[in-house]
């Protein structure tokens, strides 16, 4: 199935949106796990 330029633009947009959302989630998890580790180690 051939994509129209319009479809291609939407595809890129939503892929970018998902990538940004995933990056934020991963970053938040890194911060959370770091905080949990500090609490566990010092507790």
């Amino acid at each position: 199935m051939a994509l129209t330029p319009d479809d291609e633009e939407r595809l890129k947009q939503s892929r970018k949106g998902r990538n940004v959302a995933l990056a934020l989630v991963l970053f938040a998890l890194v911060v959370l796990f770091y905080a949990i580790t500090i609490v566990k180690v010092s507790g």
Binding site: L11, R18, A21, I38
Partner: protein, 303 residues
Amino acid sequence: MNTVSTANAIPADWRDFFALTKPRVMSLVVFTGLCGLLAAPGHLHPVLGFTAVLCIALGAGGAGALNQWWEADIDAGMKRTARRPLPQGRLRPTDARDFGIALSAASVGIMGLAVHWLAAAILAGSILYYAVIYTIWLKPRTPQNIVIGGAAGAFPPLIGWVAVTGDITLMPVLLFAIIFVWTPPHFWALALFVQSDYAKVGIPMMPVVAGEAATRRQMLAYSVILLVVSLAPWWVGGTGAIYGISALLLSGLFLLLTVPVAFRRSGEGDSMRPEKRLFGYSVLYLFALFAVLVADRLILGQG
């Protein structure tokens, strides 16, 4: 169909995944979970407390996604739910399923490693209960589905409490019981005034199956039980008088608002004001009751 081929070609937007988690239901889950955590005796480091509430929210989101994955065809047939991402074809069903499983597994794993394995086990049980026992098995089979589903919504304060104490005592079970008993009159009030098409898609909701009059009688019974159950934490000495007196007033008003609903029948073109009033109050009631529970503990320090 056009929508299906588009869904295969265009990757889903992150907002569609977010919508799968039922964010509006989550607000009540987060609030009651947090209250269970704050009302429990003992101390939990704020970072771990935050993690526990986050895991309860993630678990609820995962269960919500699995629910929407399973019910996509039912949702498509009802006005209220037809605009969800799956019936609209904006998302592949397998993606929704995997997303739900991933959220659920992550929430249980993090809860266990960071907070407590008993809390994690109950969280896992509540997700399985909602996604499998309720959604897949009993919701399409019995008009008691709301009573059964209410148990799923009753888990958050229990999990929050156990995250702090590490064991199950009478108090968190009573908190569970309060939400369990509160759910049927809360939901049936809504079911009475919302023109729902559950019948069309084959879900046996109580007002459709047993009739309006029977539903109204059962709502009254649950409201009476709610008055008793909501006072139980005070009677067993788990809370002080701040909670006890507030619960008496709040549940008394709940019963007072249920009485006119129980003893009337709706006519043609009925504005359904008593039902709407009861539904609106029921949401406020649960927030207020749990807020008072926490206030009681913070001020009187009992439990």
